[in-house]
Amino acid sequence: MQIKQFLLVAALCAISFFAKAQSPGNLSGILKSKSGEPLPALTVKLLNTSFLTVSDNSGVFLIKNLTPGRYTLLVSGIGFKAAQKPVTINAGKETAVSFVMEEEGITMDAVTVTGRSVVQEANRQAFNITAVDAKQLYNSTLDLAGALDRVAGIRVRESGGVGSNFNLSLNGFSGSHIRYFIDGIPMDGFGSSFQINNIPINAAERLEVYKGVVPIWLGSDALGGAINIITGNNHRNYIDVSYSYGSFNTHRSVLNAAVTSKKGLTFQLSAFQNYSDNNYRVKVDAADINTGAYAPGVFLPRFHDTYHNETLIGSVGFIKKKFADKLLIGMTVGSNYKEIQTGARMVSVFGAWHRRGNILMPTFKYKKDNLVKGLDLTINANYNLGTETNIDTMSVRYDWFGNSKPNGTSGERSRSLYRYKNNNGLATAMLNYRIGERQSIALSDVFNTFDRKGADRVNPATVDQPRKTQKNVLGLGYTYNAEDQWSASVFGKYITQRNVLSSAGAKASTNKLGYGIAATYFLSPVLQLKASYELTNRMPEAIEIFGDVENQEGNPNLQPERSKNVNLGLSYNFAVSPDDKFIVNANGIYRHSDNFIYNRLNNNQSRLVADNREGVRTLGGDAEIRYSHKRWFSAGATFTYQYLQNMQQYEPGYLGESPLYLDQMPNIPYMFGNADASVSLPNIGGKGNNLNIGYNLLYVHQFYLYWPSRGGDKLDIPQQLSHDLNVVYSLRNGRYNIGLESRNITNTLLYDNFSLQKPGRGFYVNLRYFFNK
């Protein structure tokens, strides 16, 4: 096969090119408490270098590729006194050290046992971040979207079951206000085969949610926030396989594996598959297609909603070599099939319309720290050669009972066999330069291109309009960081977008400059304050300008959005006793957006269309509290309230005040929360076997479909309350895992975007095998 040959040649080239690298030395060590317990999650640093790592669960750390010489090693972490030790690194050898850490005084007792994991470390940046430890969810059947739905301030809105469209709202921003990244690489244009609602949770190590201000190294024009999926892979050699089966004929499989040679040659493979009939029952007002006989409030199965996707991501390259900390050439190959059951509203039913797509995306990743001392370079590039086909060739009309009758010759919506490529390309470069211990400068550039080209076999006369957009985001930032005291960042972003909209040559070019500042201050080691301000710009996305050929209509006149954002945050850890610990996080937000971009129904209500509101003001807040008792019980709750208000005083063409002025924005959930509790019982049925029982609750307050102030007898999306339960039994320290899950136990009706219904009660079983060496 050609791809394999290509990869092999590329790998060989890379090997021969860098063959003459000289052998550096390594430093390894183990950290223990006075009582001899291994200490995880402590920060290990070589002073006056950029080398930094964190001890693993066995208290072990490893720093590789050190230039031979003398260094000073510093170990620090909450609950322990910082310790220093001189070390000497010899060429080609591994120097081993060990530390016995001394615990700090009484005030710190509360958190001594917890330490700080990478996840918490991320939370301590000046930006408003919530990090989700994905590993804790590995034995569930969640996808990334499902995991994110449990974060304070986040509401994931799906239009149905497995593979359905999703829209994530974060502190009042939604859709493309939020940008997605994988390991810092923007996910724009990955196509429908690779999205956060079909990537299983096991593909990630952790999820970082940036609320509001997004750091410059995630160079993009995100306006409301960003989600960065860290795939991590600390294991050099491992295999992780899981399979789950459940209600609605849902099958999901995941395989993640990596093999790394002693010399740093690595092969990484990630493969996953989702399949579901999605034939869950929905409550609809149905009418017989032939007679019009009306049957309000009947329960009927979805009959045309099968979804499946298969994706394979392979990479080959080197890790932790002198010429590169990471050099990977990869290929993402995948396909997907999706039946389209409804339009933007459930009243329009389809029975044959579907989509087929594939992804064929070469990727390139390069990362090198200390290119010259203190200067780190990251380069990423990918190009999606995938094709999508919109298939609407049956000229019939369906009803909810699954009956159909001919409706002429115009297809179900619009007769089509449109086959197209979006020709998405992406290139990013990031330079980070550290000046001493505390200061750093980051420069990033992200270039994006989209150029949809296609042809419709059944409408050969239709001229395919040019649909092209290119965007470049150049960012520059400066950070000062006084560890555990305060840190601050200032940054600026310059965005250029160029669109080609029609064959008449309609073009639009826009340049926008934005800037901001973010700061954090530790009142005490356990009480952190965060504040940020940003003037930010968000360019219309390709999908918003040109549509998705399905239920999203294009809007070529969409204007860039400009928003002033203020974020305030607080994080506080405390303990009422050594066994009972609490974490409290609270955030407040204020936003004022000009040309606020939001999705509304088009006038036919058949599809969604992105549109501008002249002004929208958001005030809101979210709060989270977590409690843990020893290591076996934990519980938490999140709550979010956000008030989005229409500040557009005049409607186009009118001189008087709009009746919608100061009204709350419709069809946006504004009050919602989560609660969860889990019990972890170690050594059940043998040493190293764990039993985990978890419960999760989701609450979304009722909200209106259309403007709240208008009308008496209104359409609404009712209050939703659902409960999920799961039980996971792990054997041999997590090598074998069996999970049982029940979602929406009470089988309540769950609605979403524009009152589309989500699945009722479902049961799933999940089997997972994990092995690493």
Binding site: P296, S414, P659, G712
Partner: protein, 402 residues
């Protein structure tokens, strides 16, 4: 430092919410048998609201907190047999039909079923007849549906090849349909598949169908005017004596340009006949100093309330802001006085109410300052009087249910 205080203040700040919604005086519900459809603001994907009113001559109604929310704004309304039909225009998608009656002055939903999106619908006998009209030369099948207004069921359907119907190589696109005696008259404009353009801008055509089998009986033509009615506008009206009057706006286009050489005019088909009456012709443009009729409401007794636009404003989708009274018997055109200045008018409502007494029409007037009102038009004096005030949107239809 005082941790608790800081915490409390910050939590308060975080959960602070603004409730500065203006607290304007609320307008109460006005139960009654008039139905006024109002859309809050154009171009926002808002819903239409159906408000009831006890009188069109006085009072005030508002969408603030009142009205039955309709799914979407592309809705069209028709009343027949004491039922109110709200139809969604869904383009290629299914069109919804929601039906109400009035009970105790309030709307009561009877059914909500999906059919095709249709481009013409009208009461015919005990049915609502609907037409889904092809605009694609490659698939020239236009389909019709009958919904019985008593059973609220689809009682019949069929198809017509509208390419064959025109016989000129273009598609016949019905501007509207009308029951005339035992027949259905469907005036059409001819389109050549390239937008709504035609090579035949100087002729009027009506397809005459038998009812209830909807067989095409004949197509009649008249070359004194351009086509009758307009897209989604009823250009026919049946007088008390059975005579049929037809208006032409003269807005046919060829290559995107207005191309008819005929003036906006009214023609007639005498009761009981199925040919244009060559002895009757009313040149509205000549009588009005160059105005063309964009739509009309028959008040009875040969009197029409018309919207008209000047030659400079003429267009296929323009709703004229000049209101006039046309007497088809006397062939007169009189401008109505007492309405707001046309420069202040945003849009006039085209779906209006008349008690058919020969002199009274109720017209929705929406001003650019965002206010709206129903005006009572007295045809005998050609004067308008401001009546029911409508707040919080644009009036799109005024109907009455018993």
């Amino acid at each position: 430092m005082n941790l608790k205080t800081t915490l409390a203040v910050l939590l308060l700040a975080a959960s602070f919410t603004s409730c500065s919604k203006k607290d304007g005086e609320s307008t109460p519900d006005d139960p009654g048998n008039f139905i006024v459809a109002v859309t809050p603001a154009a171009q926002t994907g808002a819903a239409d609201y159906l408000l009831t009113a006890s009188s069109l001559d006085t009072g005030k109604i508002s969408t603030a907190g009142n009205g039955v929310e309709q799914d979407g704004t592309y809705r069209y309304y028709v009343t027949h047999n004491d039922k109110f039909f709200s139809m969604l225009y869904g383009q290629g998608n299914p069109g919804a039909v929601t039906v109400y009656d009035i009970q105790g002055g309030k709307l009561n939903k009877l059914t909500n079923f999906q059919s095709e999106t249709v481009q013409a619908f009208a009461p015919v006998k005990d049915d609502i007849l609907m037409f889904k009209i092809s605009r694609n030369m490659a698939s020239p099948t236009s389909t019709w549906y009958k919904v019985n207004t008593k059973s609220l069921l689809i009682t019949g359907e069929g198809a017509v090849n509208t390419l064959a119907l025109s016989g000129n190589g273009e598609l016949a696109h019905f501007s509207w349909i009308k029951q005339v005696g035992e027949k259905v008259f469907a005036p059409y404009f001819s389109i050549n598949g390239n937008g709504f353009n035609t090579n035949y801008p100087d002729e009027a055509s009506i397809a005459i169908f038998n009812y209830a089998d909807m067989k095409v009986e004949k197509v009649i033509k008249d070359t004194r005017t351009s086509f009758i009615g307009r897209y989604f506008m009823d250009g026919l009206s049946v007088a008390e004596n059975g005579d049929v009057y037809a208006f032409s706006s003269s807005v046919a286009t060829t290559g995107g340009q207005l191309s008819s050489t005929k003036p906006s005019a009214i023609t007639r088909i005498k009761a009981g006949t199925s040919e244009f009456d060559q002895g009757y012709y009313f040149d509205v443009e000549a009588a009005s100093g160059g105005m063309n009729i964009t739509n009309w409401t028959y008040l009875g007794n040969n009197i029409y309330m018309v919207n008209s636009s000047a030659k400079a404003e003429k267009g296929a989708y323009v709703v004229g802001t000049t209101v006039a009274i046309v007497d088809v018997a006397a062939k007169t055109y009189r401008k109505v006085s007492g309405l707001p200045n046309t420069a202040e008018i945003k849009v006039l409502t085209t779906n209006n109410y008349t008690p058919k007494d020969g002199r009274t029409g109720y017209l929705g007037v929406n001003l650019k300052d965002g206010t709206g009102a129903v005006y009572r038009i007295d045809a005998s004096t050609a004067t308008a009087t401001k009546g029911l005030k409508v707040e919080g949107g644009t009036i799109t239809a005024i109907q009455h249910l018993r």
